[in-house]
Symmetry: C2
Subunit: 465 residues, 2 copies
Amino acid sequence: MSELQLVLDQLQEGQDEALDRLFSFIRVKSISTDPAYKNDCVTAANMACDFLQRAGFETEVVPTTGHPMVLGHYRSQGNRQAPHLLFYGHYDVQPVDPVDEWSRPPFEPSLVDDDKNGTIIHGRGSSDDKGQLLTFVEAARAWHEVTGDLPVNVTVLLEGEEECGSPSLDGFLKERAQDLKADFALICDTLQWDKDTPAITAMLRGLASIEVCVTGPNRDLHSGMYGGPAVNPLQVLSKGLAALHDETGRVLVPGFYDGVIEPDKSLIDQWSRSDFDEGAFLSDIGLDKAHGEMDCSVLEQLWCRPTLEINGMWGGYIGPGHKTVIPSKAHAKLSLRLVAGQKPDLILSELQDHLTKACGDDVKVEFSDPHGSSAVAFDLSKPHMDVARRVLKEEFGKDPILLGCGGSIPIVDVFERQLGLDCLLVGFALNDDCIHAPDEKYNVSSFQKGTRAFARMIADFGRVE
Amino acid sequence: MSELQLVLDQLQEGQDEALDRLFSFIRVKSISTDPAYKNDCVTAANMACDFLQRAGFETEVVPTTGHPMVLGHYRSQGNRQAPHLLFYGHYDVQPVDPVDEWSRPPFEPSLVDDDKNGTIIHGRGSSDDKGQLLTFVEAARAWHEVTGDLPVNVTVLLEGEEECGSPSLDGFLKERAQDLKADFALICDTLQWDKDTPAITAMLRGLASIEVCVTGPNRDLHSGMYGGPAVNPLQVLSKGLAALHDETGRVLVPGFYDGVIEPDKSLIDQWSRSDFDEGAFLSDIGLDKAHGEMDCSVLEQLWCRPTLEINGMWGGYIGPGHKTVIPSKAHAKLSLRLVAGQKPDLILSELQDHLTKACGDDVKVEFSDPHGSSAVAFDLSKPHMDVARRVLKEEFGKDPILLGCGGSIPIVDVFERQLGLDCLLVGFALNDDCIHAPDEKYNVSSFQKGTRAFARMIADFGRVE
């Protein structure tokens, strides 16, 4: 019998104890954003550290200006030349408000039978990210218990501030870069396709943002005394913003689509063959039809097409009742979701030119607060990507879907930029896990099949050249 | 010597006493909007009442739920069949903040030499409206002192809540409509053309307003997770609002200009011959050029052309920093300045249709809080209008300019609607009087020539058929 089979058997036998560990982890109210739970965050860090120690890791709880980092190292004894992977997860959780909307207490985890999902683990953090990070730690533990070793070198980094903007992360990474050297990073904080189908996140859109202010008259004016000859900056800004998209949903900023790298056709095909239900997706948010680029499917629009959005707009009188003012200024906050090949700085500059022209000569158009981060398209030809695709298929009996992700995932950007690491995003959460919401859950099948998949990956990562 | 000449001589002789009365009136801090000055308002009402009594009026100080009304009646003894005029003014004043910006104390009136205006009366209320209302009362007083009679029947109504929205006015007018019967109303709360040229306000624009709310998704969305397929109501509303005007500044709402009554060509000619300085008007508000209808002068745009303005707009995230939200709702407050011949209700309905169409089918467009009041174009052929034009020319040696007014004047609407009275708007304030602002002033020449002009009007109104 192979070592892997022994490990998988061990996982089978130990599944109640693994659930017990997850339950005790969920009971710790590690709400990172609320100072009232500072001690709970320390408790959670120490517990995670204990889990790692019992899985054979050398561990360290590293204090920061905020909540501590948990660091674990496992150097393979039998395979010292094995690749080195850096696993990332986070032990902090979101607040539980509105707590009245939970059907059970958020920090008293329980197993519940669910018609759609089978048995689920109910509780805050069951999925995001205590359940997901333990999915990996339990796989390593089983390897350690069965073989007294891991076939791959592993560093584990567990953060306690992911849900509150990671204020300590940059400093920590700078200080401890030496301790985080690895060949690639494995992040378990993303989705499966559905409860029976695994997924790898293959691309993340980038994000650029900027604020615009249009100034017309030098002061707010009475519309009776000045209405007519006085230019109204709200009217001008509306015209400018209306000139950002054409009738087919395409962005009209010149150069906006230059350099866009289309994803491999096989991905588009996989998405179109998938059972994604556009109608259900749209009706969930109260819409009848998709509004973006007419010639793209919803998944393409979300995952591999860039967008330009107005996130906020204001000017003039916005209180109750009416005030006949012509405001001096009008404002908007704009952001762009970018895809591979688009350069954030260049596009922000093109946007400024376009909007300034569209607003015309009668006003002053000023921009502030520009930010930009590029899209990430993971290289699907990397060996660790091959391993992930193969073992997920072995475990689930289905090819994993290669997902896009419409948003950015800050840790990916940080790892790529600060540590120069390729990232592999494999997660077992589901869209209906209610992360950040009442009644968060994690499917027991996600926990168990996920752990088995990671046990397989640990074996195969050890054989990567 | 004519009675009128005796009255004008009397005004000349009594001008120091008249200024003394105005000074004592200004010293009363009758700030109607601030409850701390409630007693001062009563003091000012009693003082105004005393002025009227000494001018031969039967008077009454009428309590209201707010500040009292002052009512005075003078029935002509020698000319019982004479026309009856209702004079309106207000004894309350604006607050004096920011008081640091006054060069002299606001409630310690003084005469100051001014390079441009000659001698001026400095102090809060000197122009708006204590000075202007006394301009009339002093004329009546001189007639009474010289002849023991007035050649016309006069009712005077002095309000104490004009600067705080006239909350008691409607109720008072309903209750005392019998006491306010008259042939026409004379309101002294408006402008001369310049310090040497008189004016009659010949038209007021109307006002309609409405609020619009555009709903896209059923909740605020994360732009990473939904950006692309999800319709953004801020984008849609911007497109809708951009469709309200064409490139020449004309309003695109179908039917908007239907029925517009152009003012008499002689008025347009008078305005174009006047020394109104478009460049100075625009540069004062920081603009290089007029933005309204291209084929209309600034004065036409302000006085006799309708407008459609966005007074406020908001939606999404408008705090500091950035939030990548696609909001569920976007809002705007719109108002229209209307001219003679436009029907507010009809136009609001046409606007709703137009904006709904322009926003398209992918969103819900809802309107709320509609209000409308028609424009007023005074009938220049009425006898009291003839009298005013003639005597202003006699006194100033120049034809009065027949002004438009871009805003509405609430008391006109109330008098026309509730009392069915034609209004005659003759005032002697100047654009640089700083009403509602620090260093309010009234030219001594406005006070004296205005009083003489009213003395002439009182004579001639008595001869109107």
